[in-house]
Symmetry: C2
Subunit: 418 residues, 2 copies
């Protein structure tokens, strides 16, 4: 493979995670090790920046700032939910790449973003423009099938598990067999996040909260739910329910859809299942109910990020650069779990084209017969992902996140009319 000299560009897309910036740090740190890479650029707000030639010089950032990406949530370069559709959009992006001699393109994101990256790569081939494109996975939802798990997932679990423990001890103090706490977590069509709340149980304490976990992989029934809740309230001072937003009934319909609107990518706007369950319990079981909807905090709580997750997010950024410099293109970096009893994790590569095709569900055989708790296979899978704490510096009592200087790269093209 001949050495390819030129500039590299990294872009962030979709909902941020607590560790998505660690992947940028991995890309930047590794890119600077290779003399074939001259400039290290970032795109502002993902595809937006690529269309409008809004690029920043990441090599000009202080080392302190790049290190700070390892504990700063959000997407430091800005993100977007834009999906490129029109042929001229792809043409434009390639034009921007050519104008800035971008030869290495690292796209951090999930399905849609990686699909767009694959299309840009295909167009470059058509035009004989040598470009290496490597995707870097991120999603708290953990539903990409090609990788053992996704960067961002472990930190979301650590936050959810911590919050479940804290809300549970509070409820334990206030309950007298009459208090139900409902915690609604994200996860569009897969129960990875809801299932992960089970980590809040202590080892060998199956009756610990969360007492009931409902995931989209198990058809939901009002009657069984009420029965489950009543049984727990009889046994415990209170009942903690964790529920995934994308819960479906036996016909596959969402139990609760907040509005009829869809987001920019055409997904139904979920949410509201917590309130739906509250109404059920209040009207049918006569217990007091508290609803917590963890929302965006699940993907932003860097102060309680998993060190394992943060390090793996950094690692996939590094691995993307190493792969591209080594001649790979049209790949996504994956996380590959070692076979040993002691957890280990290495990186691999998968074809970018295959990433968007499947939605990884929680395996049914990892869920107990009762449909509301996880078995040892899930614990074996998820427990290693939340290990270790990231050290976040505090300034005047609060986490001190970094901000990039974002030194603009001079534009050379006329403005783009979308």
């Amino acid at each position: 493979m001949a050495e390819l000299n030129g500039n590299c560009l990294v872009s962030q897309s979709g909902g941020p995670t607590a560790v998505i910036n660690a992947s940028v740090a991995g890309v930047v740190g590794e890119a600077l090790n290779h003399s074939c890479i001259e400039e290290v650029y970032g795109a502002l707000n993902g595809m937006h920046g690529l269309l409008h030639e809004d690029l920043v010089d990441l090599a000009a950032e202080s080392q302190q700032a790049i290190r700070g990406l390892r504990y700063t949530p959000g997407a430091a370069l800005g993100s977007c939910r834009m999906k490129l559709k029109k042929p001229q959009d792809f043409e434009r992006v390639l034009e921007v790449f050519k104008a800035h001699n971008i030869r290495y393109f690292f796209q951090i994101g999930a399905e849609e973003a990686l699909e767009s990256a694959a299309k840009i790569s295909a167009l470059a081939k058509e035009q004989n423009y040598e470009l290496r494109v490597v995707g870097i996975p991120k999603t708290t939802d953990n539903d990409l099938s090609a990788t053992d798990h996704c960067p961002g997932y472990g930190s979301a679990l650590k936050y959810i598990g911590t919050t479940v423990r804290e809300l549970s001890v509070d409820a334990d103090a206030m309950g007298q067999g009459d208090l139900v706490t409902i915690i609604e977590v994200m996860g569009r069509n897969a129960g990875w996040l809801a299932a992960g709340a089970s980590l809040a149980k202590r080892r060998d304490h199956p009756n610990d909260p969360p007492h009931l976990v409902y995931v989209p992989e198990v058809a939901f029934s009002n009657d069984k739910f009420l029965d489950d809740v009543r049984k727990v309230l009889k046994r415990e001072k209170h009942c903690v329910v964790v529920v995934g937003e994308g819960l479906v009934d036996k016909d596959g319909n969402y139990v609760a859809v907040e509005t009829t609107s869809t987001d920019a990518l055409g997904h139904a706007q979920l949410g509201g299942v917590g309130e739906y369950l509250r109404d059920l319990v209040e009207s049918q079981a006569g217990a007091k109910v508290r609803v917590a909807r963890l929302g965006v905090a699940q993907r932003a709580a860097a102060h309680i990020a998993s060190k394992t997750d943060s390090e793996e997010a950094f690692l996939v950024g590094q691995a993307a650069v190493l792969a591209a410099v080594g001649g790979e293109s049209d790949k996504m970096v994956t996380l590959v779990r070692g076979d040993n009893d002691v957890y280990s994790c290495d990186t691999g590569l998968t074809n970018l084209a295959d990433v968007a095709t499947t939605n990884k569900k929680l395996p049914r055989e990892w869920i107990n017969e009762d449909g509301v708790s996880m078995n040892f296979q899930f614990y074996r899978y998820a427990t290693p992902l939340i290990q270790g704490e990231v050290t976040v510096p505090f300034d005047n009592g609060l986490p001190a996140f970094i901000r990039l200087a974002k030194e603009s790269v001079d534009k050379t093209l006329p403005p783009y009319e979308t």
Copy 2:
């Protein structure tokens, strides 16, 4: 003052805080230093335990467990929202005290619980039963007027400030001048918690999030709110709004009351103001809105508790014992701030009878003219309260809170029929 020999009892009441257990640790640790105190008991679930003679032996707990109270949220002894009303209830509590030779009674709580404690004390005097009663303040709401601030408040602020920073960087990554984040915080009739979100701004960065803070001390107007939001969206990529649940309009009516029901103490059930503001923005300003309702996590997030707050909560527990052993009764321990520029805090005492009479509001002169931001007086007040981090041990990736063994004290009285 003659030495009073006998047993002591500590009780927790009302909503827990992240540090209410630290006050129990302070009581237990200090009580064991004094030979006039024989047994150290706790009441299970506050007044419930006092009525039903459900007492536990706190001296029998391991030292590890008592130390663990300093980082464990919830109320380790159990709490309740019961207010004693009937004369026979007070008679019963005193009977329980006599049966167990309780001579020192430490009530951790806010208005209602301390009022009940004062009444028990009055009844003891009537019956010539020597009893010393000292109250220990706790409330995240920070609305007790006799004390500079309340244990529990600083940790709630640290959690709120952290979450505001994290949600803000996430929104900053996703916004294009069209995204509004609404964060609803607790605080029945006072804006202490909402105002505290302002600590998330960096020093000398008045345009940092949270951009708009609405407190019950300033009459709310839909028009001004929409105008405020529009201005921020023009200036920034996104707008972060923090709102106290007890917001009122110019006529003093709650802007949003979730249900017509009241809690066990007759308070209106607030909440829903976040959704109210969302509807306003969506219909009138055409921006995307995210609502976060921090709920119970505000008082339970021990993993991000303020060290200053935790230490002061321990200190007020110690001070209560020292005061009672020294002959004081019918007092509540207060926190007294030093006069120096460098923050210092000592304890004082106030009459228990005076505690419940006033509801401390955020001073109007600490709020800027714009009505949506705080001035230096608030920062000077609140900043010291969130300093330092409590070290919480982690076990297998999650905070490992302690559980008390709760060894029962033998009952000697017939059951109580309420």
